[in-house]
């Protein structure tokens, strides 16, 4: 008993657990400060910059990177590409956690979080894009929750209710694609309200199109990136099917992502041309724009293509991580860096250490829940008692 006890204590004090424990502890203190002393006590937000890193990173990046859920389930259940089946559950789980954490982050960011349900149930602002985003996120989070429940029901041994939910798979997938199309694009459209605040290179009438198209390859890259991490750290929870399909999933998604990225670059080019914004490309902001568009979209697209041609998984995995970084950079550029670009530097926004700490806390919470779920429920492997659906 003493040995087992000692072993348990040793297992508890792993570097991962210690780091995560510290982050969660600090996050708990920051949460307490936020909800007892108000937003002003922990953020650098002001009237010029009412949206900071909690919107720019937690919400915009969270929603974009959670797009793997609708992309993977559409590929598998709508287009009938069953070779991607093993990627569906991890992608749905990532998407569900992504959206759940977006809603959690919103509780920190809005002034009166207890009124978050108001736009849905009390006062519907039907002419507002924010209402559409809010409604879609609310509905899609519900859809993702239902889509993930079969894994939980298999874990709990609830066969009958699992059978009922499995029959809803196709309709839930269609619903998920429709809702994602709506709110991924609407998040971009939100910034069309501020033509004088967003730098002309990032501002465009095509912003909703940019956001929607980029969400597709963000989702595919995130599935590859997450699969890379899962193979490295959670490999023992994977079955032979998952191991066997991983290469094909990565190559298929890499091919699709590369093509969509080139399509995205084409639309960006058309956006610059139709607005006649070529002259900005030679300025400092133009250089930064090219870093984003060429450095973090065109080059990873080429790396994806090289990886597909050479059947090189390392190329594909690096390209996926690079693309995920590029999406984060794009969303931060639009919401923070190129936003209010005309203000003097002393009025520009930079997140406080406590804002960044809260974002790190929320991401860490997601990782911990993902690990908790995948080590218990049939996510990275199929349950032996249930047929694949």
């Amino acid at each position: 008993m003493t040995d087992n006890g000692g072993q348990t204590v040793r297992k508890l004090w792993t570097p991962f657990n210690v780091i995560v424990g510290i982050i969660l502890l600090v996050g708990g203190v920051l949460t307490l400060m936020r909800f007892t002393q108000g937003i002003g006590a922990v953020t650098n937000l002001d009237n010029n910059n009412p949206w900071g890193v909690w919107i720019g990173f937690d919400l915009l990046c969270g929603v974009a990177l959670a797009a793997g859920g609708y992309v993977t389930s559409a590929a598998c259940y709508i287009f009938g590409l069953k070779r991607y089946h093993s990627a569906v559950r991890p992608a749905i789980l990532t998407a569900f956690l992504g959206y759940a954490l977006v809603v959690l982050a919103l509780h920190y960011d809005v002034g009166r979080p207890w009124r978050l349900p108001y736009p849905i149930f009390v006062s519907q602002g039907t002419s507002s894009l924010l209402f559409e985003v809010g409604l879609c996120v609310f509905l899609y989070l519900t859809v993702l929750f239902i889509e993930f429940t079969p894994a939980a029901f298999e874990w709990l041994g609830l066969k009958k209710i699992r059978a009922v939910v499995v029959k809803l798979t196709l309709i839930l997938t269609i619903f998920g694609v429709v809702l994602s199309t709506l709110h991924q694009s609407s998040l971009g459209a939100l910034f069309m309200i501020a033509p004088s605040k967003l730098h002309p290179l990032w501002y465009s009438n095509y912003l909703p199109v940019y956001f929607f198209i980029s969400s597709m390859f963000a989702g595919m890259s995130m599935v590859i990136f997450e699969s890379t991490l899962a193979h490295r750290y959670l490999s023992r929870h994977m079955d032979d099917t998952h191991h066997g399909q991983a290469f094909g999933v990565a190559m298929g998604f890499a091919k699709a992502a590369a093509f969509v990225m080139v399509g995205y670059l084409s639309v960006k080019l058309v956006g610059i041309a139709i607005d006649g914004h070529w002259q900005y490309l030679t300025t400092g902001w133009g250089m930064w724009y090219l870093v984003e568009v060429i450095g973090c979209v065109a080059l990873p697209a080429v790396l994806f293509a090289m990886g597909v041609r050479e059947k090189n998984l390392t190329f594909v995995r690096w390209a996926a991580a690079w693309t995920v970084f590029g999406i984060v950079l794009n969303r931060l550029n639009i919401s923070m860096i190129a936003f209010n670009y005309h203000l003097p530097s002393d009025q520009r926004y930079f997140p406080s250490i406590m804002e960044i700490g809260t974002s790190v806390f929320i991401v860490t919470l997601g990782i911990v829940i993902y690990r908790f779920v995948t080590t218990r429920m049939p996510v990275l492997h199929e349950h032996p008692d249930y047929p694949a659906h």
Binding site: S266, I274, W278, V308
Partner: protein, 44 residues
């Protein structure tokens, strides 16, 4: 690229003209890129 435009019509003609040319380039480039992506699929 700092072309001087006197009317909105001038501006639209110019930007739309450039856009059409770019679209032509894209119509050629996208199939070529697809061919580059899938060229070796047939070998397997």
């Amino acid at each position: 690229m700092n072309t001087l435009f006197f009317t909105l019509h001038d501006f639209m003609v110019h930007t739309k003209g450039v856009t059409y040319l770019i679209m032509g380039g894209i119509l050629v480039a996208l199939p070529l890129f697809w061919w580059f992506l899938t060229e070796r699929d047939d070998e397997n």
